[in-house]
């Protein structure tokens, strides 16, 4: 944990107040920051995707993804050597997700951003996202190809739009980063969340193998309704998957053309 003096100034105010909590004309701002309302139609208009790769130079692979208004960077380290006995035959995953101080309407105290990996603080929202992400990635990485090694996945949430597409964006960025890091995958996994009134369903799906790698549901539905929801999610996943593939393949083509030109020159 960083102490106050470590962070560059000594005489800061003891307590900070979010100005919005004193606001007198708050109706519209309140609505915009409230999630549940927009999510009903979000599954149409939130699919504006922007993907870019390899902006973090020291990492093996990295990606920057915008899904709707959610902005996320992900960087991959490894597979690198680890000394735990657990990992002799298979590769370990170590994910660490952090919210940047300005990712939410209310400022998150940056003193909370440590440089440790996520296992220490294990009851935060970040930890929950981590466990979900790991659950979703484990089935789709060829772990046995990287014995006695470990892959670190570091994710920074620059801006969060709404909780419904947060995990989806995280998974998207991680997949792109893994591909950029040239780590062998069974499939390009994509995730999609549906939030219809009070039911939140998230499905992580591998389109080519037609396998669900992870899913989460909170609400109340009968099994048949649930199946319908899952189908809808998977349909969305397919759309997302097409988008990724296009981006990646275009990127590959451009890279090759560049390299050819340099060869000629």
């Amino acid at each position: 944990m960083l102490s106050n003096t470590n962070c560059g100034w000594v005489d800061g105010p003891e307590e900070l107040f979010d100005p919005l909590q004193f606001a007198v004309d708050l109706e519209m701002t309140d609505k915009s920051s409230d999630n549940g309302v927009r999510d009903v139609n979000s599954l149409k208009n939130d699919d504006r995707v922007f993907i870019s790769k390899g902006l973090i130079t020291k990492a093996n692979g990295s990606s920057y993804v915008e899904l709707g208004l959610t902005k996320i960077t992900c960087s991959i380290y490894g597979p690198h050597e680890t000394t735990t006995d657990e990992s002799y035959s298979k590769c370990l995953l170590d994910t660490s997700i952090k919210f940047s101080p300005f990712s939410r309407p209310k400022r998150i105290d940056p003193l909370r951003i440590t440089y440790e990996n996520s296992n220490e603080m294990d009851d935060t929202e970040e930890a929950e996202l981590c466990s979900m992400l790991e659950e979703c990635l484990l089935p789709c990485i060829l772990l046995h190809k990287y014995p006695k090694s470990q892959i670190d996945i570091i994710i920074d949430i620059i801006q969060e739009d709404n909780e419904a597409n947060l995990l989806s964006a995280i998974v998207l960025s991680t997949t792109v980063a893994l591909i950029d890091a040239c780590i062998e995958l069974y499939d390009t996994v994509v995730a999609k969340s549906l939030k219809i009134d009070s039911n939140l369903l998230t499905v992580c799906y591998m389109p080519n193998l037609a396998q669900v790698s992870s899913l989460f549901f909170d609400g109340e539905l009968t099994t048949n309704e649930l199946d319908k929801y899952v189908d809808e999610c998977i349909k969305q996943c397919h759309i997302l998957h097409k988008a990724i593939c296009k981006v990646i393949i275009d990127d590959l083509k451009n890279k090759d053309q560049e390299s050819k030109q340099t060869k000629i020159a």
Partner: protein, 301 residues
């Protein structure tokens, strides 16, 4: 998933073959639970408590009340939170560093169903709208772990909450100085009960080589590819779903698993209710907690 070896390759093969011939390590069939033993009201200091054995897995749940102010965003609701603690349990050590993550995950899942308005209505925990409410702690401690902790914890939580005695209060509202005074009435035999009829139970369905089994033991976990934990209400509706086990599933499996869960859920629910009634009836027989009798099977139903 455990971090130290639990079963060798050949043992795993043995287990898988058994499951495929619908004959598991202890003779159960794929849809069978281990015997559930329940004793309620085992701790004097808690408002409600129970000790639950699911085969070799033993958990103890205690419910305690705390008097607080209501939160801003939900003024006429009380608060309730469950915590699962495995620090006292030696057999959880196989998870190594992940042990705390594991218990934290379970408490997270329990909190999801507790905070789901369709499962548990938190308004019954409100004392004075916008002013005071109960903060209910459901503390579950794992005494022994031999598989399927999710289900055991949810059973224990429901049992404990269903026999929880809510202290009754007198609320006097003064009109002119809009002051609210709350005082506990001293009669110990005057209390209310919580309504937990909608509270679901967890049913964890594991997939082992295409076959779906419930209530896996520790060794069966070592051959499990994927497990989905469903929160199932007594009417068979699904209110919670999360996956672990690090494998993947196709849609057919997914469907049949949710069918299995919604079939078994109501059965387990009713079984649990019967047990709760029986143990309530049994309580006078052996009065209040008596530690050296506590783990003796004759006190359970």
């Amino acid at each position: 998933m455990p971090r130290v070896p639990v079963a060798s390759e050949d043992e795993r093969k043995f287990i898988v073959d058994g499951i495929q011939s619908d004959f598991r390590l202890d003779g159960r069939t794929s849809r069978m639970y281990r015997p559930v033993l329940l004793a309620t009201d085992v701790v004097n200091t808690a408002n409600g408590s129970c000790l639950l054995k699911l085969g070799g897995t033993i958990v103890m749940a205690g419910v305690t009340f705390e008097f607080t102010r209501t939160s801003q965003e939900s003024p006429n609701e009380g608060r309730i939170e469950a915590t699962v603690d495995g620090s006292g349990c030696h057999s959880l050590r196989i998870f190594g560093r992940q042990r705390h993550l594991f218990t934290k995950q379970i408490s997270r899942s329990l909190n999801y169903i507790l905070n789901n308005p369709k499962c548990f209505d938190r308004e019954q925990l409100c004392v004075v709208k916008g002013h005071h409410c109960w903060l209910v702690h459901v503390d579950i401690s794992v005494l022994r772990y031999e598989g399927n902790l999710y289900d055991a914890c949810s059973f224990a939580m429901k049992a404990a909450l269903s026999e929880t005695k809510v202290p009754s209060l007198q609320v006097t509202h003064d009109e002119e100085t809009s002051e609210v005074t709350v005082d506990v009435c001293d009669d110990p035999f005057q209390f209310g009960l919580l309504n937990v009829s909608n509270l679901p139970v967890f049913i964890s369905v594991s997939q082992v080589s295409g076959i779906h089994i419930v209530d896996t033991t520790l060794k069966e976990d070592s051959v499990t590819l994927a497990r989905i934990t469903y929160g199932v209400k007594d009417n068979g509706n699904i209110v919670y779903m999360s996956k672990d086990g690090g494998g993947s599933l196709d849609l057919l499996n997914l469907r049949s698993m949710s069918k299995v869960a919604s079939d078994i859920g109501p059965q387990m629910n009713s079984l649990l209710l019967d047990k709760i009634h029986l143990s309530k009836a049994k309580q006078p027989l052996w009065g209040h907690v008596n530690e050296n009798l506590l783990f003796d099977d004759i006190n359970f139903v």
